[in-house]
């Protein structure tokens, strides 16, 4: 009994010391911190913007990565954690976080005015970082000839045998199902806003379900395609095209009926370095700087001027090329903010049966 108690006492001492030092080591000044999505996209931002920003202004940058989810930011702001300044967020995160006051409202005049950007890139709390899309990708070494073109082809397992990779979320999946069922892009969200439309999307998915491998992280896609686990997959083109350039792969994509959306840069409302953060935003949205980004990752640009000046060859694999916008659908983030809980619940129930 006494032995145990003595042991506990000894154990308590270092724990208490850790507890005390943990509480006091807060006031250390840290450099301006920018948070991206890691991988090839972060690498591209570093080379296109961040290195030249430090060179031009002398402001040191520190990087962090995350995988999205505005709850992470809410936790930080509520908990008084001020370790992040500038963050790349998805549209739903932007909407929910801006409503809650987690993000600083932007001074658009200092960014060159709202008209300097494509309309989707402009929001009270965020400025468009890049324009990306979800579409059909496959390995050209495994499917010969022209390959699949539309979502109806994606559903056609007789013409194109093999399994399909899809993201394990109702978002994108339901939209693609309706397009495969013949709903024109402009009618996809109006249809999904009706109970009959939701049923229709799930019925269409029923047909493909036995052939689907559900992935949860986009980084799984090149491996799923490259190993032949799936014949084609929902994907964003960036990673496949980067793999073609750097690893000599022969991945191919079809842009018909792609869903595109914008990622935004935001400044957190509890950032202690808002002036420097605004400076970084200005640097990243200047046309001459944005034009560098597609050299490192195929992405659409949000600055109108940069979109006009860019070398057309760099536009080929991006949503900025008008040829890639056939039947394209802009992601309706407001729809997903409103229907996300309900449809995710239904989607998960559907997956299990």
């Amino acid at each position: 009994m006494t032995g145990l108690r003595r042991l506990l006492a000894w154990l308590a001492l270092p724990a208490a010391l850790i507890g005390l030092t943990g509480c006091s080591g807060e006031s250390e000044p840290r450099p301006l911190t920018v948070v991206g999505w890691g991988g090839s996209s972060q690498e591209a931002h570093r080379r296109a913007y961040w290195q030249s920003f430090t060179r031009a202004t002398g402001i040191r940058l520190q990087e962090d990565t995350w995988h999205g989810g505005v709850g992470v930011i809410r936790t930080k702001v509520l908990g008084g954690d001020t370790s992040w300044d500038v963050v790349q967020v998805e549209t739903e995160d932007l909407i929910l976080g801006c409503e809650e006051g987690l993000f600083e409202p932007l001074e658009w005049s200092s960014l060159g005015g709202r008209d300097a950007f494509i309309p989707t890139a402009v929001h009270d709390c965020g400025v468009g970082a890049m324009l990306w899309s979800y579409l059909i990708g496959w390995d050209g070494d495994r499917i010969e000839g022209p390959g699949p073109r539309t979502w109806a082809d994606f559903w056609d397992v007789e013409r194109f045998p093999g399994r399909r990779g899809m993201r394990r979320t109702p978002k994108y999946t339901l939209e693609f199902a309706l397009m495969a069922d013949g709903v024109p892009a402009s009618q996809v969200y109006p249809t999904l806003r009706t109970p009959a439309g939701i049923d229709r999307a799930f019925r269409k998915l029923d047909a493909l379900k036995p052939n689907v491998v559900w992935w949860s992280s986009i980084s799984q896609v090149p491996d799923l395609l490259g190993s032949g686990e799936v014949a084609m997959s929902v994907t964003s083109p960036g990673r496949l095209i980067v793999a073609n350039r750097t690893e000599g792969r022969n991945f191919r994509v079809s842009w018909d009926g792609n869903i595109y959306a914008v990622d935004y840069w935001v400044i957190l409302s509890n950032s202690p370095r808002k002036a420097e953060a605004a400076q970084l935003l200005r640097h990243m949205t200047l046309p001459e700087n944005q034009m560098r980004l597609p050299q490192y990752i195929p992405t659409g640009l949000t600055s109108r001027r940069a979109g006009e000046l860019i070398d057309p060859r760099l536009r080929l694999d991006t949503p900025s090329d008008p040829n890639n916008m056939t039947n394209a659908l802009e992601l309706d983030a407001n729809f997903w903010v409103e229907y996300g809980d309900q449809l995710t619940q239904r989607f998960n129930a559907w997956l299990a049966h």
């Binding site: 009994m1 108690r5 003595r6 506990l8 006492a9 154990l11 308590a12 001492l13 724990a15 208490a16 507890g19 005390l20 999205g68 989810g69 505005v70 709850g71 992470v72 809410r74 739903e92 929910l96 409503e99 809650e100 006051g101 394990r168 799930f202 379900k209 689907v212 491998v213 559900w214 949860s216 992280s217 799984q220 491996d223 190993s227 032949g228 686990e229 407001n334 903010v337 409103e338 229907y339 996300g340 809980d341 309900q342 995710t344 619940q345 239904r346 998960n348 129930a349 559907w350 997956l351 299990a352 049966h353």
Partner: protein, 403 residues
């Protein structure tokens, strides 16, 4: 024993002082636990049973809703208060609180609240229920007002009911949600089943390993022990991805089996339940081996020799003498594995299929993606309660075993 009646008074005082000293040493840790762990957990859990959004943004409406009997449509007084407060909260930018909270219960409420508030701001009259129904017909439906009443707080059963696929209908009675929306009970049962199977697999695989480690001389046991611990030094993500490479259709294992001629067509070993069991068992195995190894190490080898010399067969000696003494270690290991497995979601997300996702995945979704922390808290409670029961059962199990 300190404090026993036959102890002299001086001794009692001394041991009292000693206890105080010990307590003083432990106090920082207890304080740290209370502030850093208990308080946040309780605060988070409280979100699962309280409702403050509507009362924060529309305090007078919340009060009127609580006083209303909840039958049919409310009177025009309530509608008038609501109209005034909607307008005020639009200007104060607090509409999102109510809009999102009501939307959890009745999808579409979010845009309804925003559109109605905008219409009132532009001058649409909002003096009666009929006025509101002219802005949007849904204000004329009793179900919309029942949803409002359920959100008036201060306490709510909404999240807890939703976490077991139930809800209150417009009459205030508990009913099941539509079958295509019912998902959490199934995910909870699945979570427990996967965790139990993983604990069992770990026990089957880990017992011989721990036995081997305990019976080898130290110069062999120590390097082997490091091998057991090795997985801890690799990130869980890397380990899981490695399993995908091994198990996929054209993966190492399938190609090997095909080449040897054991199978005709590749087996489906990943992106299904088998993959989840394999990857989770591998990741969690050390948590079973280590406590079991500790217990086995403390069993004197002489006891087995004594049993044999008294005429027991090796099997009987093992079953009657050795095994019962290892049960506390086995139980401890299995409880640790089971408990850790309950919280897994990244591994099932990467190697599982559609029907293999676990409850923590849903908790992460509500916490991070949609900010529905009430639902996240209710699901956490759902996971916590059976777990607490289990831990008590575990204590009982360990205590009844003869030492």
């Amino acid at each position: 024993m300190p404090g026993s009646p036959i102890e002299p008074a001086a001794g009692r005082r001394r041991s009292g002082a000693k206890r105080g000293w010990t307590f003083a040493l432990v106090a920082p840790l207890l304080l740290f636990l209370a502030i850093g762990f208990l308080a946040p957990v309780l605060l988070m859990m409280a979100r699962g049973v309280t409702d403050h959004e509507l009362a924060t943004a529309w305090p007078l409406t919340a009060e009127a809703l609580r006083e209303w009997d909840g039958r049919g449509l409310p009177d025009d007084g309530l509608a008038r208060i609501l109209g005034t407060e909607m307008r005020a909260s639009r200007q104060a930018a607090t509409l999102n609180l109510v809009a999102n909270r009501l939307n959890y219960d009745r999808v579409g409420s979010r845009s309804l609240v925003y559109a109605t508030a905008a219409a009132i701001e532009e001058g649409a009259p909002a003096e009666s229920v009929a006025d509101l129904a002219r802005i949007d017909p849904r204000w004329g439906e009793p179900a919309q007002w029942a949803t409002m009443r359920h959100a008036a707080g201060p306490l709510t059963s909404f999240y807890l009911l939703a976490s077991v696929d139930r809800r209150l209908n417009a009459d205030g009675r508990i009913e099941r949600v539509e079958p295509e929306q019912a998902v959490f009970v199934e995910i909870l049962l699945r979570t427990f089943k996967i965790s139990a199977v993983v604990a069992l697999l770990c026990a089957l695989l880990g017992y011989p390993v721990a036995y081997l480690l305990a019976s080898l001389p130290a110069r062999w046991a120590n390097p082997l022990l490091i091998l057991v611990l090795l997985p801890f030094w690799t990130s869980a993500l890397v380990r899981t991805t490695a399993w995908v490479v091994l198990l996929q259709t054209e993966g190492v294992l399938n190609n090997l089996l095909l080449d040897v001629g054991l199978i005709e067509a590749p087996l489906a070993l990943v992106y299904n339940r088998i993959g989840v069991y394999i990857a989770m068992t591998h990741v969690l195995l050390p948590f079973l081996v280590l406590p079991l190894y500790g217990v086995m190490k403390s069993i004197p080898a002489a006891e087995m020799r004594a049993a044999s010399s008294l005429g027991a067969t090796p099997a009987a000696a093992f079953l009657k003498v050795y095994f019962p003494q290892t049960v506390p270690g086995l139980a401890a290991g299995m409880i640790i594995v089971f408990t850790l497995a309950l919280g897994y979601y990244i591994t099932p997300a990467l190697v599982g299929g559609g029907g293999d996702q676990m409850l923590s995945g849903s908790i992460a979704f509500y916490t991070n993606q949609t900010l529905n922390w009430g639902m996240a808290a209710a699901l956490s409670l759902l996971l916590l309660l059976p777990l607490a029961l289990m831990l008590f059962a575990g204590r009982y199990l360990v205590r009844t075993v003869p030492a």
